[in-house]
């Protein structure tokens, strides 16, 4: 099958083609989280001598993303590594790009399986849900109480999947004392998340804990709590980056939070894309491929590759990380 561009024929380490054009298309540029993961991808692409590029809209909207997908496919990109702003809206464009010869790898936020070759899953939705609920339960303590969720945008695929599973998890007997009273949306905007947190606390006098499974949200919430009288009284956990959360873990606002390593995520996505485009794998269940320093990975069902379990950061280990 024609790969669109003409990647150099001679193959490099592990049978990976060199000169592959690999483009990263995040939900939105100007977002530190994606910059970190894309840089991980960059490192990987350089390792197997591909041509790396990052492009994307300045606002996280599907339509804008579509425009960039079209552009990439016109540029005969070999691999498009994309984090979807909408699981359906960009499908048409992705498929058009694939028929034009590009391989599509989604990461961070998936599309319909029908319109991509591989999904690099930062952590199973179940894994995240369990981790988050466990963290908040530990933080709030044995006698439990009311908790709330501060999410990203109301439409974020991954967020909503996690929230559903958290609800399921909370239904477990051991969490009987925890009561989910509200879910609000910070739209992954720092300011909105900040004010939403403040509204949450005004609305629920007995709130004991907040889960914010988004890097923007958890940082905003932490900052609000640390500057308010609720500091220490209301517990917070979520998915955040060490650099953003360091201050608040140190001042005791946050006991523990989790995240996968976004750099590794991009790194793995790049290798997966390279492997696909080099014909080493096709994306069917059981395919195995080498991802540089991260070692070997196996394609699971629905053409999904799992990075690993979320990693929990706390005061004791946070200083070992810088991203």
């Amino acid at each position: 099958e024609d790969t669109g561009g003409d990647p150099g024929s001679e193959t490099g380490a592990g049978g990976m083609k060199t000169g592959l054009k690999i483009a990263f298309l995040p939900k939105q540029v100007n977002n530190p989280y994606f910059t970190t993961s894309d840089n991980g991808g960059k490192a990987a692409v350089e390792e197997f001598k591909g041509v790396y590029s990052e492009t994307g809209p300045s606002e996280a909207s599907p339509s804008a993303q579509v425009s960039y997908i079209n552009t990439l496919s016109q540029q005969n990109t070999d691999v498009i590594v994309v984090s979807a702003n909408d699981k359906d809206a960009i499908c048409g464009a992705l498929n058009e790009a694939r028929t034009a010869g590009a391989k599509v790898v989604t990461f961070d936020s998936d599309t319909n399986p029908s319109c991509r070759d591989l999904f690099i899953n930062q952590a199973t939705a179940e894994g995240i849900a369990q981790n988050q609920v466990k963290l908040i339960a530990e933080a709030v303590g044995p006698d439990g109480g009311e908790i709330a969720i501060l999410s990203a945008t109301a439409n974020a695929t991954n967020q909503n999947a996690w929230i559903e599973l958290m609800k399921a998890e909370l239904a477990q007997p051991e969490y009987a004392k925890l009561k989910l009273v509200d879910t609000v949306y910070g739209d992954d905007q720092d300011q909105k998340s900040f004010t939403e947190t403040q509204a949450l606390l005004a609305k629920h006098p007995n709130l004991k804990g907040i889960i914010s499974p988004t890097t923007v949200g958890v940082a905003a919430a932490a900052r609000y709590l640390s500057g308010s009288t609720y500091k220490g009284k209301v517990q917070l956990t979520g998915l955040g980056t060490p650099n953003q959360m360091r201050a608040f873990v140190k001042d005791g606002t946050v006991k523990a939070f989790a995240l996968w390593n976004p750099a590794d995520l991009g790194y793995l996505a790049a290798y997966a894309g390279g492997a696909l485009s080099s014909g080493l794998i096709t994306g069917k269940e059981g395919d195995r491929f080498k991802a540089g320093k991260l070692g070997e990975f196996t394609v699971g069902k629905d053409a999904t590759v799992l990075l690993g379990d979320p990693y929990t950061f706390n005061a004791s280990n946070i200083d070992q990380f810088d991203f």
């Binding site: 977002n31 530190p32 609000v184 949306y185 004010t195 949450l200 005004a202 900052r223 308010s228 650099n243």
Partner: protein
């Protein structure tokens, strides 16, 4: 030769009394709406007026209020400044960047730097509008894009975190004096200063004149270009100041600070009873409008309004309040005409 006349003056004066009273009501109306809203919310959830929450309300209003004051100055001259949000964004990021570069920088100096940056950007707007004689809405829509684009290009997705800024600076964002947040004090100071100038100084009155009838202003020898230019510099400077305060309050800054806030600002100004076609209204009204909008956003969740209903509610409020304002000024108009007429 022509016929003789007897102007019904008493009627006229009585008519204008009504007028003045109604103009008073204009700001009063918003005030009442605000009080009502707070009262209802308090009734539903007393914690709405907890010290903490009042502080949050004031903090929340501060930045929008400062922007609204700047915007009002411009709107009064029958112009508009859509670039306020982008200016705020640039100045906020600049604040962070400067602190990263020079951690020891004294905070007052930082405030000056931010304000100055804003003023420069405002001067770009004002210069184009006054010198090239082009509509403000178009120019500032253009600079809305340009300034934001520069912000993005500069930030290149860098994020400046609380850790990168001096603790003292961040404390300013949450500190209070007698329960009143420091930031809110900034807003009040700005409001009073600008309000007093517009009311009691020639320069201020001339802004109203220009907005009321630009051509007449020119014939009366008012330096329209210079005044409008100044208005935009002021609006820019205030947006710049707001940017610094934004940094202090939110601690984390990326290139998206203040994204899309411009329409909220215009809404606040309009809700505050400043005529969108210039010439009338006051910065106090505009500030009240800002507080009202912020309070609504804070109150709706407390009132248990489904988050999905909140935007709708805000929109409805905007419509309601401009409707009210119109009803009032219509009454004024009538009272004037009937004051002049007979029967």
């Amino acid at each position: 030769m022509t016929l003789v006349d007897s102007p019904p003056a008493e009627a006229a004066t009585q008519g204008t009394r009504v007028a003045r009273r109604a103009f008073l009501v204009r700001e009063l109306g918003i005030g009442l709406a605000l009080v009502l809203l707070i009262a209802v919310t308090y009734a539903v959830n007393p914690r709405f007026l907890s010290a903490q929450n009042i502080k949050d309300l004031l903090l929340g209003s501060t930045i929008l209020a400062i922007l609204a004051v700047g915007q009002a100055v411009v709107v009064i001259t029958r112009n508009v400044d859509l670039s306020a949000g982008s200016v705020l964004g640039l100045s906020a990021f600049a604040t962070g960047a400067v602190f990263v570069a020079a951690p020891g920088l004294p905070i007052p100096l930082m405030l000056v730097i931010g304000t100055a940056l804003g003023a420069v950007l405002g001067a770009v707007n004002g210069g184009l509008i006054a010198a090239a004689k082009v509509p403000a809405l178009v120019v500032t829509l253009g600079t809305l894009y340009m300034f934001r684009g520069l912000d993005y290009t500069w930030a290149t997705s860098r994020q400046i975190n609380a850790a990168d800024m001096p603790p003292a600076f961040l404390r300013m964002g949450t500190e209070t004096v007698l329960g009143v947040p420091v930031l809110a004090l900034f807003a009040v100071a700005v409001l009073v200063a600008v309000g007093y100038y517009l009311r009691h100084y020639r320069g201020g009155r001339e802004l109203y004149a220009i907005g009321s009838d630009p051509a007449a202003a020119r014939l009366s020898g008012i330096p329209g270009g210079r005044r409008v230019f100044a208005a935009f510099v002021a609006s820019g400077a205030l947006a710049g100041l707001a940017g610094v305060l934004h940094a202090a309050r939110f601690g984390t800054i990326d290139a998206n600070a203040g994204l899309g806030i411009e329409l909220n600002v215009v809404a606040a100004v309009v809700v505050g009873g400043v005529a969108i076609f210039g010439g009338s209204g006051s910065v106090y009204g505009a500030a009240l409008g800002a507080v009202l909008l912020t309070t609504i956003r804070a109150a709706l969740p407390v009132l248990g309004v489904n988050p999905f209903w909140q935007d709708a509610a805000v929109g409805a409020l905007i419509l309601a309040s401009i409707g009210l304002d119109r009803a009032l000024s219509a009454r004024v108009g009538r009272s004037l005409r009937e004051g002049k007429a007979h029967g």
